[in-house]
């Protein structure tokens, strides 16, 4: 209890400031003038004008994936996939391409970036990465990380991840993120220099500790509740979808058997021969059409998965808030008791005999003013922290939901529709041939 409280308190404060300040502190990297300027302006907090700052200035795409082999930290042979990130600065006025940057990153580096962001922006819902391993697979879908379809879907997911960060008013101004896009070598070192790992570790411990908040903030408990339910409903949805895909695949593939039988049958028929032959052919086409349909649906599933992970990110923020709230309450409690002690000391009357009273009497004779001052500072910090926290949390939360969930749904239908439309012409063709 006691160890947990002061630690996050100190980190949260600079959490926002540090990445911004660090460009000045000097990592020994030349910083783009415009980016620098934007940072300064951005700290003014006018999010609307700089909302899409990076998106406007820079086009980001993950354009390619490549299989590579290399040596890992243990000097063992390993195979991994590298993704080509292309960035291009675009002038507002004439939309001309000024500078093109391209570099390769692997998934673990994306992970590192996200972990870093999580630590430094605890009040922001950091966009999730695409899944590390294929989840909610149905039996024909490859669970292999090197599977070309999987790699392709992950490429899309990684691109979305970068675009989401770039369109976030705060995250897009992060130095490390900028370096991630522009500096291939030494990037890891730059990240490690921020010392985020250290903070992350202690934070993790703090998060794992069980604690109970006395006066939970209703907005956040609601939000937490919502993200819990969202997570469970989406994962249920994905599970059922996987089964639906399995069954649908079965239905189509069994039609493939017709193909063979019809063409065998056609061999013994005279007048019906041609018709049966073509019916068999259409059955084959019908059966194989399912592969594309389900591949399309996989993209829809990926979008659902993104929101599944978003729910997790949302929950993480809520937990961090809860933790902070807890710290706050402990501190407030502390403050109150200390105030009381101060008062008692000042008046010199001890109404109730207590061990604390005894010890302060014994050792704390000369400290009331000092303590008072310290308490003041603490109180200020607490209040400040609380306020900042709340505003940031709200900001992060507002940001996420509206536009994004909508996107998924808007896209979900075309996908479905396409898959259905593609089925129709096939059966129709089958009919026409028979006449």
């Amino acid at each position: 209890m006691e160890q947990a409280s002061p630690d996050p308190e100190r980190q949260l404060q600079p959490g926002l400031l540090e990445p911004l300040g660090r460009s000045d502190a000097g990592l020994g990297v030349a910083v783009d003038e415009e980016a620098e300027g934007a940072r300064e302006e951005g700290s003014g907090g006018d999010t609307m004008t700089h909302n899409n700052f990076w998106l406007k200035k820079i086009e980001i795409s993950v354009s390619e994936a490549e299989k590579r082999t290399g040596r890992n930290a243990m000097n063992m042979q390993e195979t991994y996939t590298a993704y080509l990130i292309e960035t291009r600065s675009v002038e507002h006025t004439d939309g001309q391409s000024v500078l093109t940057d391209s570099l390769w990153r692997r998934y673990s580096e994306f992970e590192l970036l996200r972990n870093y962001l999580l630590v430094y922006y605890p009040h922001i819902v950091v966009p999730p990465l695409p899944e590390k391993r294929a989840e909610f697979v149905w039996h024909k879908l490859s669970a292999d990380n090197m599977d070309p379809d999987f790699v392709e879907r992950r490429r899309i997911g990684l691109e979305n991840f970068l675009l989401r960060i770039a369109s976030h008013p705060i995250l897009c101004r992060d130095k490390i993120f900028y370096l991630f896009l522009t500096q291939e070598g030494n990037w890891k070192e730059s990240v490690n220099e921020t010392g985020f790992q250290l903070k992350a570790d202690s934070r993790l411990k703090a998060l794992n500790a069980t604690f109970r908040v006395k006066n939970p903030d209703k907005r956040f408990t609601d939000l937490k509740h919502y993200s819990d339910e969202l997570q469970s409903v989406i994962s249920h949805l994905l599970r059922v979808r996987a089964r639906v895909a399995d069954r649908l695949y079965g239905v189509y593939k069994v039609h493939g058997n017709y193909g063979r039988v019809f063409s065998e049958w056609s061999a013994i028929e005279k007048e019906m021969g041609d018709g049966l032959q073509s019916a068999g052919h259409h059955m084959d086409v019908y059966a194989s059409s399912i592969d594309d349909i389900l591949e399309d649906e996989e993209h829809y599933a990926d979008q659902l998965k993104e929101y599944l992970f978003y729910a997790e990110a949302l929950r993480a923020v809520c937990r961090k808030h809860e933790l902070m709230q807890y710290d706050l309450e402990i501190a407030a409690q502390d403050l109150a008791s200390k105030k009381q002690q101060c008062e008692e000391l000042a008046t010199g009357t001890v109404r109730t005999f207590s061990l604390k009273g005894m010890t302060t009497k014994l050792f704390g004779q000369e400290t009331p003013e000092q303590r008072e001052a310290r308490i003041k500072v603490l109180e200020e910090q607490i209040n400040e922290g609380e306020q900042q926290l709340k505003s940031k949390n709200l900001e992060g939360r507002e940001f996420k939901f509206g536009p994004m969930l909508r996107n998924v749904l808007a896209r979900c239908n075309p996908v479905k529709r396409i898959s259905l439309q593609s089925k129709c012409p096939k059966t129709e063709a089958q009919v026409n041939k028979r006449i």
């Binding site: 949805l237 059922v240 079965g250 019809f262 507002e398 909508r406 749904l409 239908n413 529709r417 129709c424």
Partner: protein
């Protein structure tokens, strides 16, 4: 002009095709066009038979179903223009065995199996009774369409007699009268070699039955898969509803998706029902058909064998008697008649088969198209709902909290 004629033909009870009678509201014009082609050259009919109105009879001894058989005819063999009798499965069975006895050279259409093959189904369930009714109807229509069988006296009795049991008891007497041919057929002669054309038919039937059996299995498997798919789909839809309960603005589109999936599952259910009711019975009928075909083929072989044996016997005694005896000649005649009948029946059967399967596969494709059309419609109907939401969101989303 031509179209209205075709449509009229379609309504006639005997113009009946499995797909035509079962899907009167078919939205696709494919089937109608097809039936027009088929019925335009149909010969003038003078005998119409319909099986309908199944009724359950519960007696102390047994429980059984009877079906009403309505006959309309202008033929002189029928005293009245219209008859209506009730018959049970046993009676159909009697008719068929009588036909087999009295018309050994002809292909007798198959009856539905006495009990359902797949799974233990309640014999008195509505579904089972209806499937059987359709099959029995088909059986009588096939006989009605046959130029020889439709004039058979037993058939006439079956359609018109108030009490069939009287005739059933006469069975023994009838048997002795008809006995001659039966006896000959069952004589134990061995055939040397089947003529090529009949050998080909035999081979054909073997393969045909085999392939149909496979198709039947595949169809059942598909239906099974579809039902399992349906089960999952029924779970899938409500998940969207659960989700919509969590959302404020998104509730409507999610609810829409849920309803849409619901519509798709209903369409799928209709599809599987149609497959079970229309597709499978036809396959079954033809599988049974190939069996009766084979048995006729066997009888033919017997007749030929008898003829060959007699011929051989005559050849041995040729020196004594220069002339081929009359009974051998008679035997040859019978064989040739048999061959001619069989060939004619086979040809007729092939024609029917071609038409039936064309109908069947068309119907199947048509049903599938209808199914996909329904799904397409369901999905298209919710697109405006989603798009509208998307636009509204652009204007007002950033300011107020998205959650309720």
């Amino acid at each position: 002009m031509a179209r209205s004629f075709g449509d009229k033909d379609l309504i006639l009870p005997n113009g009946g095709t499995p797909a035509g009678t079962s899907s009167p509201a078919s939205s696709s014009s494919l089937l109608n066009r097809l039936q027009l082609d088929d019925d335009i050259d149909g010969e003038t009919r003078d005998l119409f038979v319909v099986v309908d109105d199944p009724k359950k009879h519960v007696c102390t001894m047994e429980t059984y179903i009877t079906y009403r058989i309505t006959t309309k005819s202008t033929r002189v063999e029928f005293d009245l223009p219209e008859y209506s009798v009730r018959r049970r499965y046993q009676d159909f069975d009697w008719l068929r065995s009588k036909l087999e006895e009295s018309q050994p050279t002809h292909l007798i259409p198959p009856l539905p199996e006495k009990f359902v093959v797949k799974g233990v189904v309640d014999r008195f369930s509505e579904e089972f009774v209806e499937t059987r009714r359709k099959a029995l109807d088909k059986f009588l229509k096939r006989i009605t369409d046959h130029p020889v069988l439709s004039f058979n006296e037993h058939f006439n009795i079956f359609l018109t007699a108030k009490d069939l049991n009287i005739y059933k008891k006469q069975g023994i007497a009838l048997l002795t009268r008809m006995g001659e041919s039966v006896k000959h057929v069952t004589g134990g002669y061995k055939l040397r070699m089947r003529p090529l054309e009949f050998a080909a038919i035999g081979d054909y039937l073997d393969t045909f039955a085999l392939k149909l059996g496979t198709i039947d299995r595949i169809a059942q498997r598909i239906i099974k898969e579809e039902i399992e798919y349906l089960v999952e789909l029924r779970e899938y839809g409500p998940v969207y509803s659960t989700w919509s309960a969590l959302e404020g603005e998104l509730a409507e589109p999610l609810e829409g998706v849920s309803a849409c999936i619901g519509n798709c599952s209903t369409a799928l259910e209709e599809l599987t029902d149609d497959m079970t009711e229309d597709f499978l019975p036809v396959l079954r009928e033809y599988i049974l058909y190939s069996d009766s075909m084979k048995s006729v083929l066997k009888k033919r072989d017997q007749v030929q064998a008898e003829y060959e044996a007699k011929l051989e016997a005559v050849a041995l005694r040729k020196e004594d008697r220069p002339k081929v005896p009359a009974d051998v000649e008679k035997c040859q005649d019978r064989m040739e008649c048999f061959n001619a009948d069989l060939k004619a029946d086979m040809e007729r059967w092939q024609n029917n088969k071609r038409q039936d399967f064309r109908q069947l596969l068309m119907g199947m494709a048509d049903k599938n198209i209808q199914y996909y059309e329904k799904c397409l419609m369901a999905w298209e109907s919710i697109i405006p709902l989603l798009q509208e939401k998307q636009e509204a969101k652009k204007e007002s989303r950033f300011l107020d909290g998205p959650r309720k």
